[in-house]
Symmetry: C2
Subunit: 192 residues, 2 copies
């Protein structure tokens, strides 16, 4: 049995290698540069090996997205834990969100811009995605305001952050004054 177990371990290890390599390549040169040929070459296997782990490129993007969601949740919780008071927590959360998006553009794209074949906002949504949303909700629920559904408020606030993140990164918004825009969102949306 030990042989089978070893093979299974090696297989899992190789799968991790694929995801890590795809992510690395995407961060270095953008997702367009992540082709099955290049990816296969980097992991030193032939293309078909990729397809024994994932249905296709889409699923690889999805795997990177799930990894990113977990890290993002950690980053957001760390940021809010270090802040005092609801309002400060919201500000810290927003900055952590935008900071993550700016530092990991490829991962952010995998999560919210590209099609990774993942289900969002449903019962069968993968746990890491639900948890990332939960991390938002924990802090934002405090400042939803009276009679306002915390989930709905979180969705709206999240959408605003997402718009800021994407438009800024693609140069559709001037890069300066980002902090002032964030501050404005926090000041006006958060009720506390």
């Amino acid at each position: 049995m030990s042989v089978q177990e070893r093979k299974q371990r090696e297989r899992a290890e190789r799968e991790r290698l694929i995801v890590a390599t795809a992510r690395e390549l995407a961060e270095q040169q953008g997702w367009d540069a992540v082709t099955t040929r290049r990816l296969a070459e980097r992991i030193e296997y032939s293309q078909p090996v990729l397809y024994s782990h994932f249905r296709g490129k889409r699923e690889i993007i999805g795997a990177v997205a799930l990894q990113g969601a977990s890290e993002m949740a950690v980053a957001m919780r760390a940021a809010t834990a270090a802040a005092d008071g609801p309002r400060e927590r919201v500000a810290a959360l927003a900055r952590a969100y935008l900071d993550f998006a700016a530092r990991n553009p490829a991962v952010y794209d995998a999560l919210f811009q590209l099609d990774g074949g993942l289900a969002y906002a449903r019962e069968d949504t993968p746990a890491p995605l639900k948890d990332a949303f939960a991390a938002l909700l924990e802090t934002l629920g405090e400042v939803a305001g009276d009679g306002v559904d915390p989930g709905l408020f979180t969705e709206t606030f999240w959408a605003s952050l997402h718009g800021l993140a994407t438009l800024t990164r693609e140069g559709r918004l001037p890069p300066e004054h980002t902090e002032r825009r964030v501050q404005m969102l926090v000041d006006r949306l958060a009720m506390a």
Copy 2:
């Protein structure tokens, strides 16, 4: 000279046909389906003809984007003109924006999601883009609040709308309650 003029007219007409066909195909089957081969076949010319009008696929996307920007500006001004009071105008603007994005997803993608090779938020930004932003500014400038730069406020509000539009369309936000989210943005961001 008349012959040259006729040819020039026909050439311009064909260029319009290319843009219209690309847009139509994109709305029907998504931008992925807009390949140079399919596009060429639909306009009943060979592929190289496309390249005598545009540098490449990117420029075709850009042309659709500019067309869309003009239409969007018209739609937003029409919506705000029919509303009384600053706050109502903002609400009408927001609805018009999201309505346009929902009804013309491919055009919206060309404008804000894909790379059409256009310059945004600069002096050399094409006029239609500047004008679309101006249409936003006309209404949003009224409710920026005391001591707040109208441009900065417009950018922030726009980003929020953009986030709502994209996340909703890709199923990352549940489709219901869209109206309540918009209302929340208007209520809290607009100062008037």
